[in-house]
């Protein structure tokens, strides 16, 4: 598979603080990647390094198998970082024209991309008069100007209203469906769950998980149980190798599975042991629970 970005043992220190610690991963063509992590976990710093605005302390990264210099590679990349940064006194069209000059792209692309994000009728308004949603969409148009091989988005829905968030997500999905590789950094889990195929979880600059989103979620699930014979049930579960761990919250017992088992098998087992259940639910963890588990427990 063709690799677009390779990061090897990347480290960034800001004085005493290590923002990114020995991070390695590879972005392959055609997938939608999510970088998940709480605020301050090093997402933006990592993106800043590969985008040539933050200097690395050690380690390496290479674009497109290292065939070009970073700033030439960036001409094939479309990226927006947190806030849309444009010249407030220029119109939307003029701002994009400037980006065309930097990226050596033909001006005919401007109207095309403005149409994609639905800003064609506002192209002659000054950037400072745009709403935040419009600014963000202009940023996406700007990132798409060069028909990039990879689109990098850092918190693209930050500070937007629900409609704005919806518009941006629809746009991202549309772009992804056209085969553009996307790297999306976010702390919003459902955003990543809805949009991404692969995920990288960071905490304090360290990689906690890297792989497919569905594999991350696909643990064997857990049972939520209640019974009058509370003590018997807990001791049975704790001694059974099929369960990794058992949690008690008041009457509710949560038992995490070590291997696949469906609810009816479990129910039958309980019946044989003479334990009657008053409550039995089998559930799978959401990305959110999985994420919290990853970021809290380690």
């Amino acid at each position: 598979m063709e690799s677009i970005l390779t990061i090897k043992n990347l480290t960034k220190k800001f004085g005493y603080l290590t923002a990114v610690k020995d991070l390695s991963f590879t972005i392959n063509k055609g997938n939608v990647y999510g970088i998940l992590g709480p605020n301050g976990s090093g997402k933006s710093t990592t993106l800043g390094i590969v985008l040539n605005v933050v200097n690395k302390t050690s380690g390496e990264f290479s674009w497109f198998d290292g065939q070009t210099t970073t700033h030439d590679a960036l001409k094939k990349v479309g990226a927006i970082i947190e806030n849309p940064n444009f010249y407030p006194y220029m119109t939307g069209y003029q701002n994009l024209k400037l980006v065309c000059r930097i990226k050596n792209v033909d001006y005919s692309k401007i109207d095309e991309k403005l149409a994609v994000v639905g800003l064609l009728d506002r192209k002659d308004s000054k950037f400072k008069n745009f709403s935040l949603g419009m600014k963000q969409r202009l940023a996406i148009a700007s990132a798409l100007l060069n028909d990039p091989e990879i689109l990098i988005l850092d918190e693209p829905t930050n500070g937007l209203d629900p409609q704005g968030i919806h518009q941006i997500r629809t746009l991202i999905k549309q772009i992804a469906s056209e085969g553009t590789t996307i790297l999306l950094a976010s702390h919003l889990l459902d955003e990543v769950e809805k949009v991404c195929s692969h995920v990288l979880v960071l905490r304090k600059g360290e990689r906690l998980y890297s792989g497919r989103v569905d594999e991350m979620i696909s643990s064997h699930g857990f049972f939520e149980l209640k019974s009058v014979q509370h003590g018997t049930l807990v001791s049975f579960l704790q001694n059974n190798p099929d369960f990794i761990s058992v949690k008690e919250e008041g009457e509710l017992i949560t038992a995490f599975l070590n291997q696949p088992m469906d609810a009816s098998t479990f129910n039958k087992l309980m019946f044989e042991k003479g334990i009657t259940l008053s409550h039995l639910v089998k559930r799978k963890e959401s990305l959110e629970e999985q994420f919290l588990k990853l970021t809290d427990n380690n």
Binding site: F14, L74, I81, Y87, Y89, N104
Partner: protein
Amino acid sequence: MLRLVKLELQKLLLNRASVVLIFISFVLPFTVLILSSIKINFFGFFTLELGELGIFNFPIIWHITTYFAAFFKLFFAIVVVSMIGNEYSNKTIKQNLIDGLSKKEFILSKFYTIVLFSVLATVLIAVASFFIGLYYSSYNEASIIFRETEFLLAYFIKLVGFFSLCLFFGMLLKRSAFALAFLFVLYIFEWIAFWIILRATSSEIAWKVKNFFPLESMQNLIKQPFQRLIMTKYPENIDMAYDYAVYWYELVIVLGWTAIFVFLSYRLLKQRDL
């Protein structure tokens, strides 16, 4: 190169404040020059014609016009520091780099624009001086007209050097107002350093050292023309004689500072996390 200049010109010419300042820095010295060259009649009491003083004679006109026009460089200096300050305050510097402009190209686009502006300013002052000189000067042999045109070269180098200093201060401090204030601080600092050396050694050595300082070396390129004017009026005053010529090593010092400032701006940008 053309791409980088176009890039910067778009940033400047669409910004109303920069356009006004650029316009002023071109037009104001020109207007002053034209106004001073016409005969002003003060309500019939007396007429003032600066041309009568001989300031528009070749070759001294090159010295006079470049000396006075250089004061108007401050207007474009504001443009230079604000073109860096704005990039930082709008965070567009970050976006420019992300879009694929290299850090070197970023600095070069600013520097090329500085050079372009200095060329235009020099050409403008040269043309204006030439025609006013032709009108007033009693000499019209080419050898006299084009004598001392090295003042134009000095003027050009002086502008490039001064704007490079502004570029560096802009990059260093990220804010236009601080950068301009720092120019003043540097001016005071040069005098303090001069005073310290003066105390430690002699006035001769202190001046020699001060001529190497950035602001003084630029100032020193075109020396004040007043003494020279008086000399031409009263040639018998031998004690007024001084050396007003432009020397190659003075040009080299300013060019050296220009190179240092541009390089330091680049180093600063390269090492900084945006």
